[in-house]
């Protein structure tokens, strides 16, 4: 087998078997399972409180209670109302003893319209009083309507919401709904790209620095050319990242599909997971991989310059800042994706992976723009790889205390044949 593949699979398999990798993957998968099952989990914990969902009602009007009970069924059928006939103080006492969740006192105001007081241990829970208020509000509307002698049709007309539509005039521009869906999805994917690029680039730099500091590099460079080593490693880790992503994607996809019903209308609709455009996923993958290769190449040759593992972080900090800056700009751009600033920065190689992806996901831009972005990335990766390979070749032979960027020059000089 070609030595390049030996290095690639050695890197891949030995990393795959490490405890830290397995643990990270499992923990992330568990978080994902937790997120996608959020509704189930909340329901599970709420079940225990069921017996406490009873509310004592003191009906001072003598006629509202059946109306409220009937109306509440349509709003929240888990709440149970119970007519309470003893004194208000007694009822309060029973609420304090947690026999009832709360106490609702129904009365009429001076216009013979319903009014109510709700008493409970704390008012931190918004949902129950909110539901009750909404119910009574509806009843009030009915009563008021009958007082004004309105027909139910007229009442419906009154309460009908207005139609208000926002239309983008640009051709193919995304509709409001699509845009907010896209924003959620793009946000999540940007986060994934950001973390993944930092994490795997770090892994590369650590890998190179470990080989160098443990001096096994001396044997390696005498066996295999540094170029093969560098790219074997970069691709090995790329394979590792894809494995991890695939595991998480499968887990995520399975649970989202399974829980799709319960996820409707919640947090996940906001993220736009219902109908993910295929193009967004493909672009996400392409820009993630290109971003990874760009930064991994950078990390590999930066890692080759240090002699001790302790210095790795210091060496790659500037790189981390660049990635973070790209992420910040992308976050800012989520709200205004079509500003000139974002457009221009999306063509700067180190920012392209995140910004161009953000634009592709959020806006409807002509196809040549992402293609140009991809081309720019490919060219920069090639240039960086050629340059990085030279530095790497010399860098791995250099040992010493200094680990500044001046060493790059020294490293290149070392490999020159004068």
């Amino acid at each position: 087998m070609n030595r390049f593949w030996i290095i690639l699979f050695h890197t891949y398999l030995s990393k795959l078997k490490t405890k830290s990798f397995i643990i990270t993957t499992i923990v992330t998968a568990l978080i994902l399972v937790g997120l996608t099952n959020m509704t189930n989990i909340i329901d599970y914990f709420n079940k225990g409180n069921d017996e406490n969902e009873k509310i004592a009602v003191i009906d001072e009007t003598g006629e509202l209670f059946p109306l409220v009970t009937a109306q509440l069924k349509t709003v929240n059928d888990e709440l149970e109302l119970e007519a309470y006939t003893k004194s208000e103080e007694k009822a309060e006492g029973e609420v304090e003893a947690e026999k009832y969740r709360g106490l609702l006192i129904l009365k009429f105001n001076k216009d013979q319209l319903p009014a109510a007081v709700y008493k409970s241990l704390s008012i931190a829970d918004n949902q129950i009083p909110g539901d009750l208020e909404f119910t009574i509000q509806q009843i009030k509307a009915q009563i008021a309507a009958s007082q004004l002698q309105l027909t139910p049709d007229q009442l419906a007309k009154l309460s009908e919401p207005i139609s208000f539509e926002r239309v983008a005039l640009k051709e193919n521009a995304k509709t409001q709904e699509e845009l907010s869906q896209a924003r959620g999805l793009v946000y999540v994917i940007l986060f994934v790209i950001y973390f993944a690029v930092i994490m795997y680039a770090n892994m590369i730099a650590m890998e190179v620095a470990t080989e160098k500091s443990s001096r096994v590099m001396e044997i390696l460079i005498s066996s295999v050319s540094p170029i093969k080593q560098m790219f074997g490693k970069i691709l090995g880790i790329a394979l590792l990242s894809l494995t991890q992503m695939a595991v998480l994607l499968v887990v995520g996809y399975y649970f989202i599909k399974r829980n799709l019903q319960s996820l409707q209308g919640g947090f996940f609709e906001f993220l736009g997971f219902q109908n993910i455009p295929l193009s967004t996923i493909i672009y996400a993958l392409v820009f993630f991989l290109l971003g990874y290769f760009l930064y991994a190449t950078l990390a590999a040759f930066l890692g080759s310059l240090v002699s001790r593992i302790e210095d790795v972080q210091q060496m790659i900090t500037p790189m981390t800042f660049i990635i973070a800056a790209g992420f910040m700009i992308a976050m800012f751009g989520l709200n205004q994706p079509d500003t000139t600033f974002i457009t221009i920065t999306s063509y700067i190689p180190f920012f392209t992976p995140m910004l161009m992806f953000m634009r592709v996901g959020m806006l409807t831009i002509p196809v040549w723009e992402p293609i140009l972005g991809i081309a720019i990335l490919l060219v920069s990766i090639t240039l960086l790889a050629v340059f990085g390979a030279k530095v790497y070749k010399g860098g791995v032979l250099m040992y010493g205390k200094s680990n500044s960027f001046k060493d790059i020059k020294k490293a290149i000089q070392l490999t020159k044949n004068e």
């Binding site: 050695h10 050319s225 070392l414």
Partner: protein
């Protein structure tokens, strides 16, 4: 199958690390490579291995340039030892052997042979960081020979080992030499070179100062050591004609003399009637003496 360095020069900027080095190392030969720290030994090795390109001149093995395509026939034990600390011995030996073009099963078989030879078969499943330094060194040695190289470069193979391990390793090296491996060998320990190498060269600041077979080098040095033990004072011999250096010892004197066939009998003649002489020995100069004189007394 001859390793040939022809007028090899390596410059790093303005610094000349190796200057016009020419060597011919015949097949199945153990060649000693001596030099003080910073003399250019490692740089030369790196050029032989093809890791560094010579600024001028050529390095050839069997008439061909050495590069990564020839790496299966080359073994290298670097001076700076190191293996993957977290990997098991077996895993990394197989990995390193495969990088040198060896099949996995052959590598496992060779590893078993070498581990049992060094009487440490139980190390195969241990992580390198769990082994003592001397044992790591053995593993490192195995890493350099596991793929049966034709050309083996050993940079300070015996440093940091206890005498028992040195003997074990020396035996293994000699056996490899017998089986036809060409070995280039560097050491600070002159006695090892004297014991094992027929040919050698001494580098000083990138230049060859001495080169040739051990016997010729000693002969060309032109000086011998004369050790005399006697029960009377020998101090007057300090200034005897033909004596280039003298050192008093508790039991007598140690002299460095030229023209031993003339000088030694004259010295004997001048002292034989002065008292009891318990020892009068003419010794070959040690490589250590030659090295120190050629490279300078600054070398410790």
């Amino acid at each position: 199958m001859v390793l040939q360095l022809h007028n090899v020069t390596k410059k790093f900027g303005n610094f000349i690390a190796v200057d016009q080095l020419s060597l011919t190392i015949p097949e199945k030969e153990m060649y000693g490579f001596l030099g003080a720290n910073g003399a250019g030994k490692t740089t030369t090795f790196r050029m032989i291995l093809g890791i560094l390109n010579a600024s001028s001149g050529s390095v050839t093995w069997d008439g061909k340039t050495i590069d990564y395509s020839t790496s299966p026939i080359i073994g290298y034990l670097p001076e700076e030892r190191g293996l993957y600390p977290k990997l098991k011995v077996r895993d990394q030996m197989v990995y390193l052997a495969r990088l040198r073009g060896m099949a996995k099963n052959d590598a496992l078989r060779e590893l078993d042979y070498w581990l049992s030879r060094f009487k440490v078969p139980e190390y195969a499943d241990k992580k390198v960081e769990e082994l003592s330094k001397g044992n790591q060194q053995k593993i490192q040695f195995i890493a350099s020979v596991i793929h049966k190289p034709k050309l083996l470069i050993l940079d300070e193979p015996f440093s940091g080992l206890d005498p028992v391990n040195v003997e074990q390793l020396k035996e293994a090296v000699l056996e490899l030499k017998e089986s036809g491996t060409t070995i280039v060998f560097s050491s600070h320990r002159m006695e090892h070179v004297e014991e094992m190498c027929e040919h050698l060269c001494i580098l000083h600041k990138g230049k060859t100062v001495v080169q040739g077979s051990l016997r010729d080098i000693k002969r060309a040095y032109g000086k011998k050591n004369l050790v005399i033990h006697a029960d009377f004072n020998l101090e007057e011999l300090n200034t005897f004609p033909g004596v280039t250096d003298a050192r008093m010892t508790p039991e007598g004197i140690s002299l460095q003399i030229t023209d031993e066939e003339v000088t030694a009998p004259r010295i004997l003649e001048s002292i034989y009637d002065k008292g009891f002489i318990s020892k009068f020995v003419l010794e070959e100069p040690s490589l250590n003496d030659i090295f120190i004189e050629k490279v300078g007394a600054s070398y410790e």
